[in-house]
Symmetry: C2
Subunit: 228 residues, 2 copies
């Protein structure tokens, strides 16, 4: 029904400025001629996420789209958005209290709407089910169901790519290296506390640190920010 012709050599990366989506940016550049990125402002705790995304995109000459999603704040009730609530591993629901129901579904659907506009056939997201984060919308079966819903709902043959889905953090570090994206990791953020240098103690920092250690590679972010 839709006469829009998607560009098979164009990809849009859902980009948070974090370690995983930064890796995806370079993976996408290896695979597609044209790569753009989209950053979602959705009420994050820390401005550093946006600063990281802008810095990495501009250093690599990647067009960065920005979309504002205030709806999650209205829905309320999770520690990533409620700046007064502390972050813990698990909430009453059995999910981490950083869980925003349907967050990745929303991100990817808006990304698809934007892809429709810029005619990019490929959507790339850094979701990963091996890091045991407990987010059901990061799993492959969810992504496949959503891909079908988006294809039918926008009537375009979008493809959602999840290059990190089954990788360990160490393998993600190695993928960043093999796609030329290691040095950009000096500007990617990870710390839940938004600290620079990173706190090194939150679950997110620990996961990143373990990944680099297992990969036998020094973290460019640590090198850049360490205090001598």
């Amino acid at each position: 029904m839709s006469h829009i012709k998607l560009n098979n050599e164009k990809a849009l990366v859902v980009f948070s400025g974090g370690q995983d989506s930064t890796t995806c940016l370079f993976w996408a550049q290896k695979h597609y001629q044209e790569v753009e990125a989209v950053f979602f402002h959705y009420g994050q705790r820390h401005h550093i996420e946006y600063e990281s995304a802008k810095k990495i995109a501009s250093m690599n000459n990647i067009k960065l789209h920005e979309l504002h999603l205030d709806t999650f704040k209205e829905l309320g009730g999770n520690s990533l958005l409620d700046h007064n609530e502390s972050i813990s591993e698990e909430s009453d629901s059995g999910l981490p209290n950083t869980f925003v129901p349907g967050r990745n579904l929303i991100f990817l659907t808006y990304a698809a709407a934007l892809s429709w506009k810029i005619k990019a056939k490929h959507l790339v997201t850094g979701v990963c089910q091996t890091d045991f984060s407990g987010y059901p919308d990061c799993r492959q079966d969810t992504i496949e169901a959503l891909e079908k819903a988006i294809q039918l709902g926008i009537d375009c043959p979008f493809e959602i790519h999840t290059p990190l889905m089954y990788l360990t953090k160490a393998e993600t570090v190695k993928l960043a290296q093999s796609t030329g994206g290691l040095s950009a990791q000096a500007y990617s953020h990870t710390c839940y506390e938004g600290a620079v240098p990173p706190c090194g103690k939150c679950p997110s920092c620990l996961l990143r640190s373990k990944g680099f250690k297992e990969a036998g590679i020094e973290d460019p972010l640590v090198l850049r920010t360490q205090v001598f």
Copy 2:
């Protein structure tokens, strides 16, 4: 993984204050003990949609949630949101130029996130593929794919109900009557021009008028607003 227990007797209706979703509200009240509704502010042309939704919800003692979605405006490029563009049947893409890519996917995903919060198992939407509106995200196969994506992505057995999917407008009018929702139609809006009394000439007014005529029922909105 999620320990949230959904209430099998509770439904959330995606509610625009229009003819179809007003009918759904009464359908839901016939089927479930508890019914709530959600209205999306997404940059509609006319304030009358919101006024209709508030009026109908309050007259029927239904809790009305409100969520604001400014993201569609940022995405831009369609006549329902761009107040300077005129409405026509078809745009360059072969879709009506009222097409917002993925709009219903987004509405239903946010509705599911809200359902998770209020523990409603059932989502009700007035989408309909028989009115030939040309929106691919109103079709049953899209809704079924999205239901699966939502179930997996939020890890809850939500059910999406589309009571109007295969009904003609005349059948929708009769459903409104048989569920006790006919008089509420006096306050539902339809007109693309947002006019009161309705313009009677836009595609939306014509479709409504044809439906009531074929059902052999006088439109309570016409009765309420006609000028003597």
